[in-house]
């Protein structure tokens, strides 16, 4: 760590020295492993690489396939009681969704239009937004809804909102109790945490088909797929909220002789309320990010035009529909946040304000009702007007730009893709995928131990054993290569931009909204223009992964830089350090914990994106997963690929977390 800190405090100096020594020992160990690896590559390249033919399967794959088929047969005969329950559940969910659809988006036959027209619907949501989140949210909601319509996706937008609403409602009903139990019991927590890890890292394509088997194609299945991905945040954050209720508050109430239930209801839940709302907010965001995936099993909503645009390569269409998803995400994010703050503002308001608020709500309700009535009476208030259409012009403009680039800059984009692949990706992939598997395995395990410590070592051994057993070693190494290379690039970008916006408020104000938009924009949306420009290959998939991971990495780096105390920076400035020196010698080293965390997130984000990259030539596990979804005889192999991705994710996560823990510990000794 920084020597200036060590010298000012002699007592920590020795430990600091020790750390430096230990770090040097580690660094030389890492170098030795890499050198040994390269030597082994030259000797044994091309041997024992565990390449598997395009349609070959192993015993494990066949076994997995049989399991999946047996579920299918059971569901076809309708004899399995569990499947009868799930069918009942699916019917229930479908009924709710189709009820909301008939109310808002589809013709409720024999009526030619939905029960409530667009004008009435906007009036209702405006009223609800005002009641729950205040005036500013009302404006945001109304403007966003109007934009949905004017972009030309009124129905798809509302369908997506509908699915998201139902999925998040189930998430809350199921997730909050689980979160509470998890927060109060460390045993439950230990059991559930790995399950949540798997739910968040297992690629959705793996469970799309089984879910279709069990829940049928359509809204219910879409809601379930969304739910699987959206429920972990709310469980985790609720548990966190319960856990963080101050010990003193709990002791005070238990000493009063309150029961467990009273404690929960009167103390823990109210005190954790804000955190739980944050959890709901996170679940909503996760649910929206599944919009395009759900469309693969015919889930209604804005995901539909996006995947349609993917298969027809219409960049403009994808862009406009994606814009709709981003708008929805911003709206839901801001309103749920505002709602949590609003409840407190109202609580603190004086009697006069309360009365005023009541009057406004009452008048608002009457106005809304009148508008609902109007929207049932007049076709113009029932069907969203088709003009002015702002979606079409945007769509054409985007298409024109991409076409122009495609024609005029083809040789440039082609050269970029080729050079990057040949110079960086291919050599690295040679090393990982074309060296004997036992060399690669041992090398990774030793590196994991050096970088991440004992726990990381154990996890890495187990994960690699699993990957070996699942029979897709070579594919896994191809995917690992792309993940590592993309993460290196994303970290470089993250450092440059993150430091910039971490140091300049101005830059932050300009860049941060872009990052927010980048985080909610469904990856398929920017995958399409990249695909159009660079063709179907690993580079395209990597670039998409990079864009997907960049916002979160940049934000974490920026937060780390900003977290360095102002006094330290001032001290360095007064001692005459240049700006570059401050960044390099003070801010970056002190933000090391954040940098490691950023790497961790970068790796996991890139990895999850490479699965979607399977659709556009990423090869490796991503392609395997998608092929398993689409070719019946390869379903077992696809499942094995999905599990391999899971294992890769867990491995990378544990290694970087180990590194974070070490750097965190080191940071605490120097402070």
């Amino acid at each position: 760590m920084s020597s200036s800190v060590a010298t000012t405090r002699p007592s920590t100096f020795d430990r600091g020295m020790l750390l430096v020594l230990r770090r040097n020992w580690r660094t030389s160990g890492i170098v030795a492993v890499v050198v040994g690896w390269i030597v082994a590559y030259w000797i044994g390249r091309g041997h024992d690489t565990l390449v598997i033919g395009g349609s070959q399967t192993t015993n494990v794959h066949d076994w997995l396939l049989r399991q999946e088929n047996s579920i299918q047969t059971a569901s076809a005969t309708g004899s399995n009681p569990i499947l009868q329950v799930t069918n009942g559940f699916a019917t229930g969910v479908n009924d709710v969704i189709s009820f909301i659809q008939r109310m808002t988006t589809v013709a409720d036959l024999p009526r030619p239009v939905p029960e409530i027209g667009w004008l009435g619907l906007i009036a209702i949501v405006a009223w609800v937004a005002y009641a729950l989140a205040g005036f500013r949210s009302t404006i945001l909601v109304v403007v966003t809804f109007l934009l949905f319509g004017y972009l030309g996706y009124w129905q798809d937008s509302l369908d997506l909102l509908n699915i998201t609403f139902v999925a998040v409602a189930i998430c809350a009903v199921v997730g909050i109790p689980i979160g509470i139990t998890m927060g109060s019991s460390s045993i439950v927590s230990a059991v559930i945490t790995p399950v949540l890890d798997v739910m968040q890292t297992l690629p959705s394509f793996v469970y799309l088909l089984p879910i279709v088997v069990v829940f049928g194609i359509g809204p219910a299945a879409a809601a379930i797929v969304t739910l699987i991905y959206a429920i972990p945040p709310i469980i985790r954050i609720t548990a966190h909220g319960i856990r963080n209720v101050p010990e003193s508050a709990i002791e005070a109430t238990t000493s009063l002789g309150q029961t467990r239930w009273q404690l929960l209801r009167k103390v823990q839940l109210p005190m954790a309320k804000r955190t739980i709302i944050v959890g709901i907010n996170q679940s909503v965001m996760a649910a929206l990010s599944m919009a395009t995936i759900a469309a693969f099993i015919s889930g209604p909503g804005l995901g539909q035009p996006v995947i349609e645009a993917l298969s027809s390569q219409r960049v403009g269409t994808a862009f406009v529909a994606g814009l709709g998803i981003v708008l929805m995400a911003i709206m839901l994010d801001r309103t749920t946040t505002a709602a949590s703050e609003h409840s407190e503002t109202v609580a603190r308001a004086g009697r006069h304000d309360v009365r005023l608020n009541r009057v406004v709500l009452g008048v608002g309700a009457v106005v809304a009702l009148v508008l609902v009535w109007v929207s049932r009476q007049y076709l113009s208030a029932a069907r969203f007007p088709s003009s002015p259409d702002i979606g079409k012009p945007i769509q054409h403009k985007v298409d024109d730009i991409v076409n122009w680039i495609g024609i005029h800059l083809y040789s440039v984009t082609h050269a970029i893709q080729n050079q990057f692949t040949l110079r960086f990706l291919n050599p690295f992939q040679e090393l990982l995928a074309n060296t004997p598997w036992y060399v690669v395995g041992v090398a990774i395990i030793v590196l994991a131990a050096l970088i991440g410590g004992t726990r990381a070592f154990v996890y890495t051994v187990l994960c690699l054993a699993g990957i070996y057993g699942l029979g897709l070693w070579n594919e896994s190494m191809v995917t690992l290569t792309a993940t590592l290379v993309a993460t290196v690039v994303v970290m470089i970008i993250g450092l440059v931009v993150g430091v910039w916006i971490g140091r300049s408020m101005m830059a932050d104000r300009v860049i941060r909204p872009l990052l927010d938009a980048g985080q909610v924009m469904p990856p398929l949306v920017y995958l399409i223009p990249i695909l159009a420009l660079f063709g179907a290959n690993r580079f395209t998939a990597m670039l998409a992964g990079l864009i997907y991971a960049a916002p979160v990495v940049i934000k974490l780096v920026a937060d780390g830089i900003r977290g360095v105390s102002a006094t330290t920076v001032e001290a360095a400035e007064s001692s005459g350090s240049s700006r570059m020196q401050i960044v390099r010698k003070v801010q970056l080293p002190m933000a090391r914990g954040s940098l490691v965390l950023a790497t961790n997130q970068g790796l996991l984000y890139v990895l999850s994106m490479l699965v979607i990259g399977g659709l556009v030539g990423a090869g490796g596990l991503g392609l395997e997963v998608y092929r398993g979804f689409t070719q019946s005889n390869l379903a077992g192999r696809g499942l094995a690929a999905g599990l391999s991705i899971c294992l890769l994710g867990i491995m990378l996560d544990r290694i970087t977390q180990g590194a974070a823990r070490r750097s965190g510990g080191a940071a605490s000794t120097s402070s």
């Binding site: 030619p112 109202v346 609580a347 309360v354 009476q377 007049y378 659709l615 556009v616 392609l623 019946s632």
Partner: protein, 319 residues
């Protein structure tokens, strides 16, 4: 603090109640007359991911909707998932099926949840194609025996030192991996992603005179724009493709057909008769596909345009 909360809740409840009352008041918007020929109900139509399929589906769907009063629910799905939909009862019809012997066996013969509803009249061809400029410059490339001679031309960053054979959507019917292996070709199959990706690749290859060897198929509107040339693989003989791992011959000629779910066929829906009667030519399909893919029309509008121009054909299916 909780008083306002309660108030808001009561307000919401009252609001909902009034809403229901308003709903009962009956709208001024006239109810639509139900379908011309009685009840059709909902027709769940799978939409597989290529434009030709959309053409069939939307022409049938448009007629079912306007002439038979059906509610048509288009579900964008891959082939295998659509068949799964027959079993779970969520898909009624696949309007352009390419063989799929394994799925036929599983869902028609074993589970008996689906059945063949006759040919669409379209003749399907699958094969390997090169852009016209290549066929002109290297005339003997159309014989598979010469492919290894030209392998180096097709090298890309993705093909690992071999020639690249570009494949389409991973869900498409393909023997390409086995063919490359069994014909001892020095090529690597690289998956391109979609029909549009293939078309874009061919377009660029022809414009920029870049080499390209790729999987493609007919019926296909794009042949009107760029006349791709097929590479002849060893001739297809019946049964030569029976073992998927040992295939060393060309793809069979496909007689594309329609598959419906048993439940739908037994339901007596007038749409079933329409689907059974539906029969047209490759040229018909290509016309509609071109409206969609090149003209940028919505599939429904393209279908409508074709129907208006071919009223007599459409009427014959409705009889």
């Amino acid at each position: 603090m909780s008083r306002t909360g309660i108030l808001a809740r009561w307000g919401a409840a009252a609001f909902a109640a009034v809403l229901v009352l308003a709903g009962c008041g009956g709208g001024g918007i006239k109810n639509e007359k139900t379908g011309a020929k009685g009840s059709c109900g909902t027709l769940n139509m799978a939409i597989n991911p290529w434009v030709g399929y959309e053409s069939d589906a939307y022409v049938i769907g448009d007629l079912a909707k306007k002439k038979l009063g059906c509610t048509v629910d288009y579900k964008k799905l891959d082939e295998q998932v659509s068949w799964q939909g027959f079993a779970s009862g969520t898909v009624d019809v696949v309007v352009e099926n390419w063989g799929h012997q394994d799925l036929v066996k599983k869902y028609i013969d074993q589970q008996k949840v689906a059945l063949d509803a006759g040919l669409t009249g379209n003749q399907g061809i699958i094969g390997w194609f090169v852009p016209p400029w290549m066929a002109k410059k290297y005339p003997d490339i159309t014989n598979w025996k010469n492919l290894n001679k030209y392998a180096s031309l097709f090298k890309t960053s993705e093909s690992g030192g071999k020639g690249q054979l570009l494949d389409g959507d991973p869900s498409y019917v393909t023997n390409d991996e086995a063919l490359v292996k069994n014909l001892h070709l020095n090529y690597k199959v690289v998956v391109g992603g979609s029909e549009a990706a293939l078309i874009q690749s061919f377009r660029t290859a022809e414009q920029q005179k870049k080499p390209l060897l790729a999987y493609f198929y007919e019926p296909q509107w794009f042949f009107n724009e760029v006349h791709l040339v097929k590479v002849n693989l060893p001739k297809y003989t019946p049964g030569c493709d029976s073992d998927p791992a040992k295939v060393a011959c060309d793809y069979p000629p496909y007689h594309l057909n329609k598959i419906v779910s048993k439940k739908f066929a037994d339901s007596g829906s007038p749409a079933y008769k329409l689907i059974k009667n539906f029969h047209w030519t490759n040229q018909d399909q290509n016309t509609v596909s071109k409206y969609i893919a090149q003209g940028g029309m919505s599939p429904a509008a393209a279908a409508q345009k074709w129907i208006n121009a071919n009223q007599s054909k459409a009427d014959a299916w409705l009889k």
